[in-house]
């Protein structure tokens, strides 16, 4: 889990990471909305394929992409099964297991496929966005979109210190492990409680230090944000075009079926 949490790729320089983060946010939101509103699984699947292809084209290791897709896929499978068998309608097939008879219905399968396609599409959009946009850019853009100052400030502090506390947690856990702290459930839980407590105490101490350092550099209740560079005509036009194209796609295939 720790190793997954990395924004290394987002900080790499490539075609997409150079795009104005505001534009990327708008486009990503539009894409996700199209996916969610679509009643035809083809559109979400198309989005999915495009995003995964783009991710791989940026030479992001397929293993990483796969790892990040595993968790949502698991949910997709579980929900798809649930829906296929739970919705009423025309039975397609029946599988008897033990005392029960599994009846998959036509409507159920349709809903399941649609849900699955939506999850795949939407998740891949978020994945691509996060792999080409560092979080601090996203926060800056959110500030530009008038998200409240307090929220963005807390978000930036949380983001910054998450990495440090992750290192601490990793070290603490390793140190306990080397002294057999994770042999057996009882010990594991006690050890983990200790880690949680230590991390919290450390975070409080760090808050004191950080605040002192901020005061020494003139902090007055608010972290000042620099201006975002003005939106270029290019980014504006690009965004408009992409969103328009998405709309067209949505109208053309998203509503069919």
């Amino acid at each position: 889990m720790f190793s997954l949490f990395s924004d290394f790729f987002a900080c790499r320089d490539n075609l997409l990471s150079r795009v104005d983060p505001r534009a990327k946010l708008v486009v990503a939101t539009a894409m996700i909305l199209c996916v969610i509103l679509s009643t035809n699984p083809a559109l979400p699947f198309l989005v999915f394929l495009t995003c995964v292809a783009a991710t791989l084209a940026l030479r992001i290791p397929a293993r990483l992409v796969a790892l990040r897709l595993v968790a949502p896929m698991g949910i997709v499978v579980a929900l798809a099964l649930l829906q296929s068998f739970m919705a009423g309608g025309t039975p397609v097939c029946t599988i008897p297991i033990g005392p029960w008879r599994f009846t998959a219905t036509h409507e159920g399968i349709r809903t399941a496929v649609l849900t699955a396609s939506r999850v795949c599409g939407a998740v891949s959009v978020v994945l691509l966005l996060s792999l080409v946009t560092p979080a601090h850019r996203i926060f800056h853009s959110l500030r530009w979109f008038r998200v409240p100052q307090g929220w963005v400030e807390i978000a930036m502090l949380m983001y910054r210190y998450t990495f440090q506390l992750l290192d601490l947690t990793a070290d603490l856990t390793a140190a306990q492990q080397l002294r057999m702290g994770y042999a057996g459930v009882r010990r594991s839980l006690a050890s983990m409680g200790t880690v949680c407590g230590t991390v919290i105490i450390r975070s409080v101490d760090q808050a004191v230090h950080t605040h002192e350092a901020m005061v020494l550099r003139g902090y007055q209740r608010e972290i000042p944000f620099g201006p975002m560079p003005p939106v270029t005509a290019c980014a504006c036009g690009g965004t408009a075009l992409t969103v328009a194209a998405l709309l067209l796609l949505y109208v053309a295939i998203g509503r069919v079926g």
Partner: protein, 293 residues
């Protein structure tokens, strides 16, 4: 920026923490404009505590702190922090933004400067610490040495006339240590910034510090140029420190073997000169290369 007189001083400062640890006891400390001062002390001697009183993070229970001749209590925040800058020991305490450029901008933006001025200050500060190329990097991707330099840049961007550093070389390898010390030296000599640093590493100090305050258990044991501090080996031992290795060698030669050395040298260069005086010329072979490293 070069001025005459006392930049910062404490008079009879005492400080005890809540549990009762007396961390500072009647400390008299003074730094003149343009000086390079070192506080030298072993772990837990009160360096950090003293530094915190110098920037008003702690209020001493007794004694006064004066900055540029004025009582520190009388300063407004903005005024004080444009005069005195503090670099913490742990760069993580100090760098709280996500990227280098943003972090350095924090101080200037708080001062309400115009955006062009802010950008100029970022550029200058990063140039000063030779970290211009790091501007767009994320903090958690920097190495420890780079983080240290960025932390210094963040403080320099406030344009303080007095720069205080808590163990700036702790945890750095020899190359990084030398780099930071030379950097501070440059800031001190070229830009006239008064530098005060706390440390317990002795070997590089004689090269750089104009004056050293030797602290032990919250007291000033002695104050003076490196030469005066390091000539008293008992005092140094009392402070749980040691002589620089080079001095140690020549001191041993002198005390144990009776080699006549009047003035124990503190730096490699001085030691070389002293030893060459003692070694007969006819023993010397022709120097292979006459390079000056």
């Amino acid at each position: 920026m070069k001025r005459e007189g006392i930049a910062i001083e404490t008079a009879g400062v005492s400080f005890a923490y809540q549990e009762g640890t007396l961390a500072l006891a009647d400390v008299h400390f003074r730094a003149n404009y343009g000086e390079f001062i070192a506080m030298l002390a072993s772990n837990g001697s009160g360096k950090t505590t003293l530094i915190k009183t110098l920037v008003r993070l702690l209020k001493p229970q007794k004694g006064t702190v004066r900055v540029a001749g004025r009582e520190i209590g009388g300063y407004s925040q903005a005024e004080l922090y444009q005069t005195v800058g503090l670099v913490f020991q742990n760069p993580n305490d100090q760098i709280f933004s996500a990227t280098v450029g943003e972090d350095v901008a924090f101080g200037p933006r708080n001062l309400g400067l115009s955006e062009t001025e802010v950008q100029q200050r970022i550029t200058d500060a990063l140039e000063a610490v030779a970290a211009g190329h790091l501007r767009e990097r994320a903090i958690h991707h920097l190495s420890f040495g780079e983080q240290k330099r960025v932390a210094i840049a963040g403080v320099l961007a406030m344009k303080p006339s007095i720069l205080i550093l808590d163990e700036p070389t702790a945890g750095l390898d020899p190359a990084g240590e030398g780099m930071i010390m030379r950097l501070l030296h440059r800031l001190n000599r070229q830009q006239g910034i008064t530098v005060i640093l706390a440390t317990h590493s002795v070997d590089l100090l004689p090269l750089f510090a104009d004056r050293i305050y030797l602290l032990s258990r919250g007291r000033v044991l002695r104050e003076g140029p490196a030469r005066e501090i390091f000539c008293d080996r008992d005092l140094i031992a009392q402070a749980s420190l040691r002589l620089p290795y080079v001095s140690h060698l020549l001191d041993d030669l002198n005390r144990l073997d009776g080699v006549p050395i009047e003035d124990v040298p503190l730096t490699l260069g001085e030691a070389r000169v002293q030893l060459l005086k003692l070694i007969p010329d006819e023993l010397l072979v022709k120097p292979p290369r006459e390079e000056k490293r």
